[in-house]
């Protein structure tokens, strides 16, 4: 991600590379589905809900199981071989994850349960210790609840004010909005790199520059970006980056928080207990070094090893190739949807501006009915508020349908959705 912004108003980076690559991608062919047992065993299923949670390749399931069958033991402090190897396995993944997002040091990678916990840690631990009455925390109206409620809570506790940036109708944040909302009172700016509803990529570099100019910390919720694009925390210029393993092919139960060392160092731990201390007396405790300070209690070492295998899997395919394929898929998805005159798409009009996600509604039909009827055609999509209620309110809807792709999808999956939607329409309105 060294390319500069091509279209500053959209914030999408390396758009042109992606477009170029996506033209040579064959979305009819699918060399990946066979790597994913659930998809391979259920060829009838069109799984278009990867934005909620991805499927996991065999290599990840094998790695997790192998841990239990070969190394299983409590990683920290053990002196016997199993435990030493388990510790080494966890350390190795920390290095892999650091490289994956181009972080300087594995010590600044904290394993959490999910992006939600990572963001709570930032809100409670950083927010809770620096915010004062009159300060501002700036987010966007398109945040997932996990990057919204924690800030609501900490603002309430500290007397800081929560300020929302609003995009235009297509979901793009304007320079003006960024400059107006991130002012001198801003102490923390926290923004999703990719919206889990609109599918837009936010101009995080620009937001980060503005935040830093104003002396604010800049946090990026990467739950929907890390699975789909090269993430380079240095290039983004953020101070913290949060994401979930389960959305990028790893087992459930593992999330990541990266933050700059000096920030992590001054943040108090959120959870305390075993494994996160250097010493404890009856009255006092001294915290362990990074990253252990933030990892209280026995960690999910097998899940961490699974996350490492997920990173390996992505690297073995190549993020460029994955991104290009997903870009081709989501473009096809958005294009096909927009040809149905009874479907209304949310977010960017340009299909190429959607990252992996397209939210839509079928005119006059409740999204839950759409999803239920699609299920009868073995099409899996999500319907609801997508943990983004304030965005729904701002969009003037109660809920939407959402289809999302990963690189294991293909043209057939999308065609199955489209013909399923025609059936939905027919059920409600008679055949055309």
């Amino acid at each position: 991600m060294t390319t500069e912004f091509v279209t500053p108003t959209t914030g999408a980076s390396n758009t042109s590379t992606r477009d170029m690559l996506s033209k040579v991608i064959d979305i009819e062919g699918n060399p990946y589905k066979r790597d994913f047992p659930l998809l391979a065993n259920n060829p009838q299923i069109s799984f278009l809900d990867s934005a909620a949670t991805a499927q996991r390749p065999k290599s990840v399931l094998d790695a997790q199981r192998d841990f239990y069958e070969r190394l299983n033991s409590n990683p920290l402090r053990g002196l016997y071989k199993l435990s030493v190897e388990a510790t080494a396995a966890v350390d190795e993944v920390r290095e892999k994850v650091a490289k994956f997002i181009n972080a300087d040091s594995p010590d600044d990678i904290v394993f959490t349960r999910n992006a939600t916990e990572s963001l709570n840690l930032m809100a409670k631990s950083l927010g809770g210790s620096i915010l004062k009455p009159g300060d501002e925390v700036v987010i966007t109206i398109m945040e997932h609840h996990s990057n919204l409620i924690p800030w609501q809570q900490v603002c309430r506790q500290t007397g800081a004010k929560l300020v929302y940036m609003y995009p235009d109708k297509e979901g793009f944040l304007s320079d003006e909005e960024i400059e107006t909302k991130i002012g001198p009172k801003a102490k923390i700016v926290s923004v999703a790199q990719v919206s889990n509803v609109l599918g837009v990529e936010n101009p995080v570099k620009k937001i980060g520059e503005r935040a830093h100019q104003q002396g604010a910390y800049f946090i990026v919720d990467g739950a929907q970006s890390a699975p789909h694009m090269h993430v380079d925390v240095k290039d983004i210029g953020c101070d913290a980056f949060a994401f979930s393993g389960h959305k990028m092919f790893s087992p459930m139960g593992i999330g990541v928080l990266w933050a700059r060392k000096n920030i992590l160092e001054k943040m108090p731990p959120m959870l305390t207990g075993g494994e996160m201390i250097e010493s404890v007396t009856e009255d006092d405790a001294v915290w362990a070094e990074l990253p252990h300070k933030f990892e209280a209690g026995t960690q999910d070492a097998a899940g961490i090893v699974g996350l490492g295998a997920a990173v390996d899997y992505i690297n073995s395919i190549g993020m460029d190739r994955m991104e290009a394929r997903e870009h081709a898929l989501v473009k096809y998805l958005a294009e096909q949807l927009s040809q149905l005159d009874f479907v209304r798409i949310f977010g960017p009009k340009d299909p190429a501006q959607h990252t992996a996600v397209v939210a839509f509604n079928v005119c006059g039909i409740h999204p839950h009915d759409v999803a239920s009827i699609l299920d009868a055609s073995d099409v899996c999509i999500r319907a609801g508020h997508h943990c983004a209620m304030p965005l729904m309110t701002w969009m003037g809807v109660h809920s939407t349908c959402r289809a999302s792709v990963a690189m294991y999808n293909d043209k057939k999956d999308i065609d199955q959705l489209i013909s399923g939607l025609k059936k939905v329409w027919a059920v409600f309105n008679g055949d055309k």
Binding site: I365, H366, H368, D369, S372, I373, D375, A376, G384, H385, H398, S399, V427, F428
Partner: protein
């Protein structure tokens, strides 16, 4: 069960043309029921005379299942006594949860018995129940006055 059984022509008809979906003037009783899993709501209104439901109507928004289920219910309960209505609602909930499956017993529910298969769709059970639960709440809390008692 094929999901399309649920989205039957009859159900679709109730959804498209709900006879009982309107705002009643000064109803004797009114209550808003919310489905927590989706946030949809049904505002049910009722006039009762001498223990008999004289008029029943609803507003609110929700999926086809909740809307038509409520419309079917309204049709069924009109002119029933409050006690009969309460028993029918109970029976409906039992059917939807798969606790009563005997078609002979379910015949009492009339058209509503057609919603039986929803018991196999856990994600939609709450939709089908919404109107009926709301009705029971009105009877419990407002008519029988359990809450104020």
């Amino acid at each position: 069960m094929a999901i399309n059984n649920i989205y039957s022509a009859a159900l679709m008809e109730h959804n498209a043309h709900p006879d009982y979906k309107y705002q009643m003037d000064n109803p004797d009783y009114q209550h808003e029921g919310v489905n927590p899993s989706c946030g949809d709501d049904i505002v049910l209104s009722m006039d009762v005379e001498d223990g008999v439901i004289k008029e029943i109507a609803f507003t609110g928004s929700g999926c086809a299942v909740s809307q038509s289920s409520t419309d079917i219910m309204s049709d069924l309960l009109t002119d029933k006594t409050v006690d009969e209505a309460y028993d029918l609602c109970s029976l409906f909930l039992k059917m939807i949860r798969g606790e009563v499956t005997d078609d002979k017993v379910l015949a009492k529910l009339g058209e509503a018995a057609q919603l039986k298969d929803i018991s196999h769709m856990p994600a939609r059970v709450k939709c089908a129940e919404l109107g009926w639960r709301t009705c029971m709440t009105i009877i419990d809390d407002q008519i029988r006055g359990k809450k104020t008692a």
